[in-house]
């Protein structure tokens, strides 16, 4: 059975100390875990990545600090992850389905189950999980492979996915 792994926002914005949404020291351990994970599934799973690219005057993000601005180094995928994605989806919103090729490309794979890893738990992971469930996909989130800058929001994201959206948490 074909299974797709969606690596979300594995970019400098969150993982590099100079990034607009750098998540601190926790990213160092997360990077290592993700690297091992991608290495272990390379060749057996189809790996898609999402990458945020925003414009400076995007009204949607007026409540958060600007990050992943087009043309900045924030949008670059970390070097250690570059060998893995089969397809890169550029996003402007938390849901990776909003104005992107994700639905069309997922359908081509024939997958029924999608694994979500990356950042952040309460934003990209949560809102994409909801859209996947709306479309009838089984969704699995590996808790050690997702993170958020705020531990309270991370826990909230995990709880909503697990208890409301019927996402399998491993």
């Amino acid at each position: 059975m074909v299974e797709v792994v969606l690596g979300m926002s594995l970019q400098k914005s969150y993982f590099h100390p100079g990034g607009g949404h750098y998540m601190g020291e926790q990213t160092e351990a997360l990077k290592l875990r993700l690297k091992e994970y991608f290495k272990s599934i390379d060749g057996t799973h189809i790996i898609f990545f999402t990458r945020e690219i925003h414009q400076t005057d995007d009204e949607f993000f007026r409540e958060s600090t600007s990050h992943a601005i087009v043309g900045s180094s924030d949008i670059e995928i970390l070097e250690i992850f570059k060998p893995y994605p089969k397809f890169m989806i550029n996003t402007t919103r938390y849901s990776a389905f909003f104005m992107t090729p994700l639905e069309s490309e997922l359908k081509k794979t024939g997958a029924k189950r999608v694994y979500l890893v990356g950042v952040e738990t309460h934003t990209n992971i949560l809102f994409t999980a909801e859209e996947l469930r709306n479309r009838g996909y089984d969704v699995v989130v590996f808790e050690p492979l997702v993170a958020a800058c705020d531990s309270y929001m991370h826990a909230a994201g995990i709880n909503i996915m697990s208890n409301v959206l019927s996402v399998d948490m491993e």
Binding site: F87, M88, N90, M99, S104
Partner: protein, 162 residues
Amino acid sequence: MRDEPLFIKYLNGQVTELDVMDIVYNSSKDSLSKQIALNKKNENNDLSIFKIDFKKAVIDLIDSGINQRFINYVNSYMKPSLEEFLESSDSGRAGEDRYIVIKAEDAPWVEAVICYNLCIYIKAFGIHNLKICPVCQKFFSHKGKYAKYCSDSCKLVGQANG
């Protein structure tokens, strides 16, 4: 009056994915792209979701102009799929000849070709002539900046309906 570009014909159902593959096969300058196009014709090519999404992207473009979500959308298809080459003659920019090469067989290159066609259209003509006819809901671009309807018959219907 000029012919409508490929992406409009695709949106309006005048050409299909198979026609796009034929165009790529017949117009490619490299043998690899030709072979990939030929192979693709024998596969299951259901691009119905792409067509719906692409239509939304073009409507967004008409409504909101060029924005980052539109650029992200077309780049997601074009970057992994196509490489553009430019051949220029001695006579300057007027003699430029653009052509594309398919980068990888498993990339979404049919979608990318349609997005590329849209981008080339925007580069040449801008977006002000790109419209949707309020009567027949078809896309059109050949009537000029101030046109509201795609044809005289739609204009008559539209004006009669007030």
